[in-house]
């Protein structure tokens, strides 16, 4: 078990290495001279030269990369071009709202997704099945930003139950954005739960339980449901990365003070150090979540470990 964990951890190193190179290369992939871009259009050559030296852009690329990694390790992500505040501080300010939104979205999408999926499996072939799967395929097809706008229209503007947008720390402000963010994942979870459930229902121990006269309800909830949840658990981890990506759109719709909206603002004003840091942060989250998922899976399913 420990060997598997170590091996899996080591296998992350090349991926993290390449991701860090990509994030580093990001500034160099930009069309034109990064120093000129950062200095702004009306900067004179002397200012640009000074900035180039400050950023170390006059050194060879490998040296620049090592410096970049060195800075990363000390939490130095550079300065925001727009505000001249360290990127680290800007990100720290917005990290919690994004995580809060993502976790809430995840929580309710698991509850609804698993519920709909289980209903579809238990009532397989009946109208409940079709209804649950229709809701699910609709959830996959609906663009999040549109769903957000519709929810604002109905529940904030007309009914006035929830605030239109923004976040000041009240729970009511969390409701609409997290529902919007979780909708797609809820739909995916429902489909996944359905297929996991149906797989389990065709197992022999289910027939055995039925044959020895266990009540159908008990077969469903005790024998089938628990085992069907195993693959679902790993799916939760994988979908969390997807949720983080979706937060970019949802945060923009709801003027949520998080990383996603910050990223769009950074793209708009070409705040490259911020973009670079955010790309790195998001992908590191993604890689670590995948690692975590693999480990949980190995814990639950011993077959994986011996491969």
């Amino acid at each position: 078990m420990i060997r598997f964990f170590l091996k899996r951890c080591l296998s992350m190193i090349p991926v993290l290495f390449v991701v860090s190179i990509l994030a580093f290369a990001f500034v160099h992939l930009l069309p034109g001279d990064p120093a000129r871009m950062m200095a702004g259009q009306d900067a004179d050559p002397a200012t640009i030269e000074l900035l180039r030296q400050q950023l170390g852009l006059d050194r060879p690329l490998p040296v620049q990369y090592l410096r970049y990694i060195g800075n990363l390790c000390t939490g130095d992500l550079g300065m925001s071009l727009r505000t001249q505040i360290p990127v680290f501080d800007e990100i720290a300010l917005r990290y919690m709202p994004t995580m809060l939104l993502a976790m809430t979205g995840m929580a309710w999408s698991v509850i609804f997704g698993v519920f709909f999926g289980a209903v579809a499996a238990i009532y397989s072939g009946k109208w409940q099945d079709y209804l649950a799967m229709f809701v699910s395929v609709s959830g996959i097809s609906v663009p999040q930003f549109w769903l957000g706008l519709l929810l604002i229209q109905l529940f904030a503007v007309y009914l006035g139950w929830f605030p239109v947008a923004g976040y000041t720390g009240k729970a009511s402000e969390l409701v609409l954005p997290s529902i919007t963010l979780g909708a797609t994942v809820a739909a995916i979870m429902a489909r996944f739960t359905l297929s996991a459930f149906l797989d389990v229902l065709s197992e022999e121990y289910i027939s055995t339980a039925r044959a020895k006269g266990v009540a159908e309800r008990l077969v469903m909830w005790k024998h089938a449901f628990r085992n069907a949840l195993i693959p679902v658990v790993t799916m939760i981890g994988l979908q969390f990365g997807f949720l983080l990506g979706g937060s970019v759109v949802v945060e923009t719709v709801f003027a949520w003070p998080g990383l996603g909206r910050y990223m769009i603002e950074a793209v708009a004003v070409r705040d490259y150090p911020v973009l670079q840091a955010l790309l790195l942060l998001y992908s590191f989250h993604f890689v670590f979540i995948n690692l975590l998922v693999d480990m949980v899976y190995a814990l639950i399913n011993p077959e994986i470990r011996y491969e």
């Binding site: 609709s138 097809s141 923009t252 790309l279 998001y282």
Partner: protein, 283 residues
């Protein structure tokens, strides 16, 4: 299919038509594509014609979906927008599929270092959530529809590569490919004539599903101001324009969104039907 020989297509059709929803979705998709092609003839008004006297009129017999801030007919804009969304969705997945399938085929067929290189690259691409990768690419290339197509195709590639690599690995060991090899078929012939067709059913299913996702992603990017720019009648861009008028002119938000939703829904239902008909694991 009484006495006649059962063709692969006949078998496919027999399974496919059992899924009524997929059949209906297919009919709607054909209609949608026809509308997109014939947009200038079908649309009741010029999608760019500005008339401030008609600003934000609710739906009426003259303007079935109402008008926007500039008095432009929303239905006409949606109809013209279908050209953009379908083109962007289809092209980006096509580019992603061609590159991804080729890489997957090479990866599975040759194995070794090449395989490792291609698969590790796709691992790295997977390390970025799709839309974030697209935003990063657009940030480098600049906003615009062409760059959105590039961005969306890049993140379609790795999945195509993986699907094809998987089936290539198993087909490579199959009896008929070995037989072809033993009678002296060239490597290129083995790859493209013998193995490639066997991988296609998985590719087609994913292709259809992916178009829906790509349409949503492209519309999202336009909504965020990174894709189509005004006055282009792109669905996501139209929704971005409607944001400031929620509660004032709700039809501006409702109709372009319905267009995206239904288009993606039909592609997904159609894809479901294809999967049911093509995937041997599903009865």
């Amino acid at each position: 299919m009484d006495q006649q020989t059962i063709t692969p297509f006949g078998l496919f059709w027999h399974k496919f038509k059992q899924r009524k929803t997929a059949l209906v979705a297919g009919v709607f998709l054909v209609l949608l594509i026809a509308t997109a092609i014939l947009a200038p003839y079908v649309a009741p008004y010029d999608p760019f014609a500005i008339d401030y006297n008609l600003s934000m009129m609710p739906p009426s017999p003259e303007h079935l979906a109402g008008t926007d801030v500039y008095g432009r007919d929303i239905l006409s804009r949606i109809i013209h927008g279908s050209r953009i969304s379908l083109t962007v969705g289809f092209t980006s997945v096509l580019v992603g599929a061609v590159v991804g399938v080729t890489l997957g085929l090479i990866s599975g067929f040759f194995g070794g270092i090449l395989d490792g290189l291609i698969m590790r690259t796709s691992d790295v691409l997977f390390a970025f959530p799709g839309i974030l990768l697209a935003i990063a690419i657009v940030a480098i290339l600049g906003p615009g529809l062409v760059n959105v197509v590039v961005a969306v195709s890049v993140f379609s590639m790795p999945t195509f590569a993986r699907i094809v690599r998987g089936s290539t690995l198993s087909l490579k060991e199959s009896l008929y490919v070995r037989a072809a090899q033993s009678v002296g078929a060239s490597r290129r012939r083995l790859m493209f004539v013998h193995i490639l067709p066997g991988t296609l059913s998985g590719v087609i299913v994913y292709f259809t599903m992916r178009i829906g996702t790509s349409i949503i992603t492209a519309a999202s990017l336009s909504f965020l101001g990174l894709g189509a720019q005004p006055p282009t009648p792109e669905w996501g861009a139209m929704l971005a324009e409607s944001r400031d008028y929620i509660g004032v002119a709700d039809h501006m938000t409702i109709f372009p969104g319905i267009a995206i939703f239904l288009t993606v829904l039909f592609f997904n239902l159609f894809g479901d039907g294809l999967r049911a008909a093509l995937d041997p694991k599903i009865k």
